[in-house]
Every structure is written in C-alpha cells, then in structure tokens.
Symmetry: C2
Subunit: 608 residues, 2 copies
C-alpha cells in the first residue's frame, strides 16, 4: 500500500506526478503530496483525503520544478492528517516512503536526543532526519548520506528522495516494498508499479532488495548499499497506456462484476482445448512435474485466500492429494514442515502482496517448487515463482476484488483437473464433463446478472441490518466467506461466513429477527444437510436469503430466494459468488459508501 | 442436543423424569415435556421455555404413571412453542426424539394424504403417526409396528416410545444420536447420557446404531431392526451422583473459569513426570506408535476446533510433522485423501459431538489410527477411538466452554511434545524447559484471575459496542478466535477473530471509533509485527484492548491494557485465553444475558 512516483527531466514535474498518483490511487488514498525541486528550492504540497484535494491545493498555489517525488498514502502509523502526509522533510531532505520502519521508535528517541524535532506521528519521518544528520557530517556527498541512513533502518521500504540544492539527481532505494525505474528520453522515472509510467516509457528496470539508485535526466546508476555498482536487466513493460474507463457503469466494482462472463471466458481459453473438451494446463505450466506432486500447500491473503480454500476442495477431490491452505501472514512465520514432493501455490491479484511474496521466498529457500497464480504479468511474484498461471481479468480498479476472484477460481479449477489428469485420477469422461461445465460458466454468470434488480431490492430491504451471517457447505463454504468479506469491505456491515454445520457451535447465539442469514445452497449432495441448518435459523426467527438452484424446491420457507441456473457441481462455486457480489454492491450503494475506494482499504497490500 | 429420559418401574415416574431432565437441561432448554402411562391412559404435560415452566405446570396439574418418557428440546425444525415441544402424540402413541429426520417432508406429505393431521411444525411428529399407522394394521404387536415405522426414517434419531394400553413396556431405538439403558432393581431407564441415571444405577448398556430395545420393569431385550436379538455389553458407569453446585459463584461459567488452575494442574499430572520434568504421554497413549506418525489430521467443532488450531502450531513446530485441522462438518463430507502414516486426533468435550463422531468413523473405515481427546469417559468417542487422552476438567455445566478448552490445550501441548520426543525432534533441554513452563501455567492462570476487577471495568466500558474484532498472530491467532467465540456465544455481540496480518485484507474496513479491537500480543517473536497492525487500527480511531506481557512496553498507546505474567512462549496460549473468557463473561453479565444457558445454544451437539 502507498504509491510512490518520481521524475527527473526537462519539463515541469508537477503534472506528471499528479497524473501518476491518479493511477496509483488504488494503493491508498488517505492523503497525498508532492515535492518538486528547482534552482536550490524544494516546494512541497500535501493534502488530507483523496487526490482531488491535492489538485485543488496545487491550483491555488502552483509548484514548478524539473525533479519531483509524489506519494499517495495508506496510513500505517498515525492518522491520515496533512501533518502525517508525505513527503516528509528535514532540513534540505524530502522523502516519500512505502513500507513500515520497524525500529522507528528507537530511532526517533535517539534523533530527539540529538535535537531533531518531529512534525508527524509517522514511522517515515525518521528517514529524512537520519539523512539530514548524515548530510550535515558530509555535505558534499548526498548519496553516501542516504546510504548511511538506510543502513540504520529495519523493516520494509521503497524510498524516493530529493535533496535541496541537488536538483540534478533523484535518489531511490528499496527493501521489501516494490519499486521500479522507468527509462525515458531525456527523463527518468521511479514508481511503485509500471501503470503510471505507461504514457512515457515501456523500458523498465526492476530494483531488487537493498538496491539503491541515482537518477539524472540522462541516466541511472544502480548500486548496493555499500556503493558497489550492480547490473539489473531492463524489461519491456506490457502495460498499456489506455486509461480504464468505468462508463457506462456507475462504479468500477459494478463494471468488473459485469465483466466476469468475458474475463472468465478469456481465462478459460488459455487453459483448455475447447474443441476436444480437454485440459491444456499441463503444457502451460511448463517446468512443473504435476504427476510427481504428493501434497499441495496454498498460501494467499484475503479474497485470494478464499480462492485457495475452494481449490483445496477441488484438488483433494479430483487429484486425491492432501492440500493445506494457509493465510500468508501466518504461514511465513510458522516454519511449517514441508512434505516431500509437495507443490506450493501462491495466489495474488497484484503479484506484489508482501506476506504472500515472503511465503514464496521462504518456500523457495526450502527447495519447494512454487506456482504463482497472478493477474499482473511482470509482478514480483510472477518473476520469482517457478511457473505462473495468469488470470486474464485485466486491470481491476475496484478495491473489493470481484473478477480477479472468479478468474482465480477458473485457473484453480483447471489446475485441479490438470493435477488429477497427470496423476491418473481423472477419467476421460469426467474430464470432458467438467470441462463442459466450465465452458458453460460464462453464460451462466450472464444469467445470474439478470437477477440484478431482484438483488438490488433484497439489498434495499436488508441494508439497515448491523450484522449478517453467510452459510455454505463444502466448496460453497469459502464462497460464503467471500460473500461476507465483500459486504464487510464496502458496506462496513459486520458480516461473517461460517461452515453451515459449524453454526450451532456458537454463532447461532447471534440469531434473532434482526440478523439476515444468506445461505448458499445449490441442489447438491450436501443440500439436505444445509437445509437442516436453515431450519434451525428459521426456528429462531432469523431472516433467510436462499441462493439456490432455480427450479428446485428450496425445502424451507425463505424470506428471499434467488434461483441460479443449474450447473455442474464441480464448477458451481465460480457461479454462486456473483449474486453475493451483487448483494454487497447494492447494499453499499443504498448506504451511500464509497464503493470503489472503501475506507481504510487499499488494493495492493505491499506492507506486512 | 435435546435430552431424553425414560423410566419403567414400580414408583411414580414423574419426579424421576423431572429430576433427570434437570441434569439433561444443558443439552437444550427451548421447551420440555413428559408423558406418563397408567391404567390404559397416557398423560402428557409440555411447556415452552425452561424446565421450571414444566414444573409449574405439573404442580398445577400433577400426572402419575409407572412408565414415562421426558424430553428437553433444542429446536431444529419449528420454533420453540408448546405445540412443537415433545412428547408428540398420534392416537395411542407418544414419542420423544433427539436427532433430525431428513426425509420428514416426503413422509409428512404421504401421511397427510393418508388422512393424518399434524399439530406441530417438527420433523419428529411423523414418527408417532408412522407408528400409529402401522399399529392400526397390526394392533397386537406394538414392537413390530415401531420396527416398521423406523425402517422408513432417514437421518438421526434416539427415540423413547410409549404405547397407550401397553404400560408394561417402554420401547426405544437409536441411529446416530446417543442413547443408553440403565439397569436398576425392579426398574429400568433410558437416557441420552449417564448423568441423570447416577442416583439410580451405575449399570449401563450402550445401544449401537440401529438397535431397538424393549424395557419392562424387570428386564431388557435388545434387537436389530429385523427383530433378531443382539448382545450388548453392560458397563459400570463412573459418573457420580453428586450434583454440581455453583456456589459461591454467581454462574457456572464463572466457577469454571476459576476452576482452571486446578483442572489444568490435574490434567497435567496425568501427562508428565513432574519430578524429572519429562513427558509421560507416550505410555498413556497405549497402542499408538507415535514415532511412526508422518502427518496429523485434527478434526473438531467450535471451541474444540480452536484447540485443534493451536495444536497445529505446536505439533508442526515441535514434532516437524505437517498438520491439517478441519471443521468436522466439513471434513466428514469432503472425502479427504488420507496421507500414509497419518494419525487422526478428534477433540470433543462431551465425546458425543455428532459431526466429530462421524469424522472418526469415516477415518477408521479408511484404516486410520484415531486418538480421542475427550472430557467424558465412556462417551461414544472415547469408546470408538483407538486411544483416548482425557481432559480432567470435571463436569462442565456452562454452555460456553472454558475449562474444557484450557484442559484440551494442556493435553494437546503434552501430545505435541510426546510426538516430538518419539520422533527424535525434542532435545532433553527443550523437553525440560517446556514441561517447566507447563507446570507454571496453573499458578499463572491464578495471577490472571487477579485482573478480574479490571476486566469487569473494561467490559463495563465496552458493553454497548455492537461488534468486536479479536486479533492475534501465530498460536495466539486461534486464541483470538476463541475470545471472539466466547463473546458471541454469551453476549450476542458480533465478535470476530482474525489473524492480525490478515486484517488489512478486508476487515479493517469495519474499524471506526465504535469498534473495540482486542489484541493478544505477548512479547514474543511476532510482537513487533502485531504492533504494526495495532498502529493501523489506532491510525483509524479504533479502541484497542491490549492483552500483553506485564512489565514490557506494549509499544502502542492502547485504550486498555491487561498485563499477563511472563511465561514461556510455547505454553502461552493456555494462559492468554483466560482474560478473554473473563472479558466475555463480564460483558454478558453487564448486559444481563443468561450466561450459563445462552439463547439458541446447547452444550452437546449431537445433531449434524
């Protein structure tokens, strides 16, 4: 979280920084700021809240400079005030930072003893002070001063640094948090990802951990923290300059829900041979011996974790391999024993999720094979995994993930079948049947979208509830979790997902006339069991929303029913999440929350 | 859930039934009822709500009979009205039932076509009608009529049946739900468990699935569903007749929280050699080759599931064996592939939890070794597991589990060390150190109990919150889940536990000035990471309750702090749950809920 941009060149940096921040705003939007340098002066502008406030401030008081850094913030330490907004300054040093400095309390105490005064509550502010302190000792070598400061930092950082009086250089460094350099004509850039640089250049240089770089308008020097030059490859970015438009939809999230039939279809094309109804993944995942896999570990965060949970059901049932699914922030610190012959799958839309990346690195260090499932090619996880399967969801702008989730499920369903096939567990008949089911999913999602008005009405009637339960069994249990997460993220309603059979071991105490219970209950082998649980809810006065198979009796007097066109049981989870996404969307719209940029959240979680 | 009792003998059955129901009330208390038979008449009394209402009704209108059945209900189908209370009657047949009839809708439709009228919304009522229908066809053979009826039932049941005009017999049957027969002198009994029979007899005959029995005052005949006699062993029950008293405490839950130092100490005694600071479990778990274990699967529900999640951290770290933990209601239907050389651990306070028992049977059918961790000797899980380790918590009366949980953790900690030792992964130094830490836990819990007043005050200040988050990392993450479950169960506040590092992937959207966040953050290897997450909460105005190591800086400006005496990191989860139990308890007392019998819940979940 937090987005960084920087530029040095021959034209005014301010509009480039502001345009870049717009494209980085998905990473955080608690506050924003820029610093530009010109003729021995550094000018800073900062504003609380979204970028539009910074734009207003710059209109009122324009800033000009040929070198500059910009930042859009997702608050970690200290509330989102202007005081805590970046850039932070100490003497002649201005800094933007993405990451968390873990030893900032000790550093802060020492700097205060040395006479430095702190203006903010952030962890970041120790950095400009440390650089200024080093610069006072060696005023002629700003790069050495930055090096000396960085060596004192523990934790994660991507830094953009401007030194007053040295407007001929832009300094940057990274450890843990993403940062890349864009190489232009007579101008060079830094940024948290490639998107904001698309209008200017496609030539990207990716920094590695503990790299530092000095940019001038004509060149870039990359060194390690001791100042020794290092070589980094230059890659051609595939990110297109087209700005994503949400028209004719009201919100990006709505647009992305409606894109699902298309992007699930696109993703499928890469994974199956449609003509002969077979899986083609084994060729795609080049270099991984799927037949030899004895156990699978899946690691992810948030919505991607829910996709991993569905995959556990699929892989265990189809490929008969035990699967362990783990939250990345837990997995990376647990020092889990690795089973022999096991494959790790990491799932991340952005391919930059900090905890997931750390889990990948931990597993690779133990000699594990790692397969990435990511939406952003060239992302760190894509580059570091042994193999990658791509979700072809296209850019996802809404902070609450929708199409990334359904395309992740699509990839994982095909991977489960590929594993089953490689291990000799999948009959040609079952392969054909499951592939046919998958091929029908895009059209089935379109049918679900025709219930939009109905779900809008259900949302209107339930919008005032202070809490929700979502229930499901089997592979629909993680779908219930994901439905609850969507509602929580964008409507701020305390929604929780539960395995339907687990409800009576505690959460049933919450049930009264006020608590809506959303039940995902297709007509499958577990239907009757789920209905027994719904009876327990009804017996206590709860209001029930049934998401069930159209044309089949629900078996219970639900308060609201949404019938979903019949589909194969294997592929059903991909289908059943869509009504839950729409329900969450409409409740949030009814409540008037900021659907695409809900409070406190950020799209790409690059801090731990 | 639901408790059944029945008696046939030479004295008035009513007071025996009522006394028995009191001891079964932990199984459900939505409504209660009895039926007694005398001289060709069956008298029924039923009342909504707790047992005291039935007692009032019986005072106003006493019933006498030498044969009788009684029932205390935990509603599954139909709200807890008098209409839906058991016994249910059709013609000359009265029935009490624990379980769920899955095909009741089809049976009900057919019976209605045949002219039967239904008085209730329950699944149970089909049973007396089916028996009456069969009895009309063969009025001279009530036992054959019951057999014919039972053969039409799908699902789970324990049944007590009274036939008007046949006051010389009491018929019972079971499938899935627990039922035992107590053998007295000139009187015989049926009951859901041995506790209500303790004053009358210790000789118990445990029925197996699809057993039917006919009791007279002088004898018992057990047959299969075709009427062929079967032999069942008679066992001596160890349940004592002492009625558990809560005095001098206000609630059983409070008493049980305060018993934890004692019962954890008692449980430990069985598992370690205190004198030489070593683990003695390997001898206890007779018959299991711990050294050969290559993988572990843990299956449980509710609070026991959280104990299993802590055990995953312990076993993976200490014994270096991969562990999969699963909710029983999910595990049993997933058809999980069994890893070679794997051990299954099932955890259940009552030893009767229906889903956990089904998981045990599934695993045994696949040839897995199963180790039970139960609190009730002679319970079904105890009897069916290959080996059992006992929690010596004593009877737990409060529906929200407390001392059962900490004693489960105690057993599982010792088991993790035993596994590690058997596999050569535990150095004598580490064994000694961990055992010493465990030995200190009872005294440390006593120290935690001295914070009772403080937690009462924290509870007073936070009681009006509509939701809570509980955060932890590592083995304290399941402790956060358990803290949230306690609050949910007894205060009906929507509390949710999260891995601290996962908060920013969604739930952080809930955080505002209204939402208290309880953080379990002892000074351990993950402390700094957790504090970074707490900073994110504080930056958004959340109210933070820190449960941390006494004498160490919390590293953050918390709104409330509770310092816990330092203890070894390994044993810490056993200690850190106690302040969360007390917090939940005091919030519930402040709110005036029924702490020991919270709404909708039952102690022993013997339906799916």
């Amino acid at each position: 979280m937090c987005g960084i941009i920087g530029v040095i060149g021959e034209r005014n940096a301010t509009p480039i920084l502001v345009e870049g921040l717009k494209r980085l705003e998905y990473r955080g939007y608690d506050s924003a700021g820029i610093a530009v340098g010109h003729q021995g002066a550094v000018h800073i502008a900062r504003a609380m809240g979204k970028l539009v406030n910074l734009e207003e401030s710059l209109k009122a008081s324009p800033k000009t400079g040929y070198v500059g850094i910009g930042h859009t913030r997702w608050a970690t330490h200290g509330p989102p005030t202007e005081q805590n907004a970046h850039p932070h300054r100490s003497g002649s040093v201005a800094v933007v930072h993405n990451g968390i400095i873990e030893n900032y309390q000790e550093l802060r105490a020492a700097l205060q003893q040395d006479g430095f005064t702190f203006q903010s509550e952030t962890d970041t502010e120790v950095i400009p002070h440390l650089i200024q302190q080093a610069l006072t000792a060696q005023p002629d070598d700003p790069v050495a001063a930055v090096r000396a400061a960085i060596k004192q930092l523990h934790g994660a950082f991507a830094l953009g640094i401007l030194i007053q009086g040295r407007e001929d250089m832009l300094i940057c460094a990274r450890r843990g948090s993403p940062l890349l350099i864009g190489l232009g004509e007579g101008e060079n850039f830094i940024a948290s990802d490639a998107t904001p640089l698309a209008p200017y250049t496609r030539r990207m240089l990716y920094l590695l951990d503990d790299d530092m770089a000095v940019l001038t308008k004509d060149g870039v020097t990359v060194t390690d923290l001791d100042g020794n030059p290092v070589e980094r490859v230059i890659k051609q970015s595939q990110v297109s300059a087209d700005v994503t438009e949400k028209w004719p939809y009201r919100h990006y999230m709505q647009k992305e829900i409606y894109e699902q039939p298309t992007v699930v279809g696109e993703t499928l094309k890469n994974l199956i041979h449609a003509a002969d109804r077979t899986i083609s993944v084994s060729q795609t995942a080049v270099g991984l011996d799927l037949a030899a896999v004895q156990a699978v570990t899946i690691v992810a965060c948030g919505t991607s974790y829910h996709a991993g949970m569905v995959a556990k059901y699929w892989i265990e049932q189809q490929a008969r391999v035990p699967v362990n699914v783990d939250v990345a922030s837990e997995y990376r610190y647990r020092n889990t024993p690795m089973a022999a012959g096991s494959l790790m799958i990491v799932i991340s839309q952005s391919g930059e999720t900090a905890d997931t990346l750390a889990a990948l690195r931990h597993a690779k260090a133990q000699g594990q094979q790692v397969l990435g499932v990511v939406n952003v090619p060239e992302s760190t996880i894509d580059r570091e995994a042994d193999a990658t399967l791509y979700t072809l969801a296209g850019p996802e702008i809404g902070v609450a993930s929708t199409k990334a989730f359904t395309t992740q499920l699509t990839v994982l369903a095909c991977l489960a079948l590929a594993l089953a096939k490689a291990r000799g567990q999948l009959s040609p008949e079952d392969e054909r049947r499951h592939v046919e089911d998958l091929l029908q999913i895009p059209a089935r999602i379109e049918q679900v979208l025709t219930h939009d008005d109905k779900l809008q009405e259900v949302g209107r009637q339930l919008m005032h509830a202070s809490g929700f339960l979502f229930l499901g069994r089997g592979a629909q249990f993680p779908i219930a979790l994901e439905g609850a997460l969507k509602l929580k993220e964008i409507s701020y309603i305390h929604a929780e997902g539960y395995a339907a059979g687990e409800m009576k071991h505690g959460p049933i105490a919450l049930i009264d006339e006020e608590l809506p219970v959303v039940v995902v209950a297709p007509k499958d082998g577990l239907h009757e069991k789920t209905i027994s649980n719904v009876e327990e809810v009804k017996a206590r006065g709860g209001r029930v929303v049934m998401i069930h198979t159209a044309g089949e009796s629900t078996g219970v007097a639900a308060d609201f029913e949404v019938g979903i066109a019949p589909c194969g049981e294997f592929a059903a989870p991909i289908l059943y999440v869509t009504p839950l996404q729409l329900l969450a969307y409409h409740i949030a719209v009814h409540k008037g929350t900021d659907v695409d940029q809900p409070r406190n959240l950020a799209k790409s979680v690059t801090v731990e």
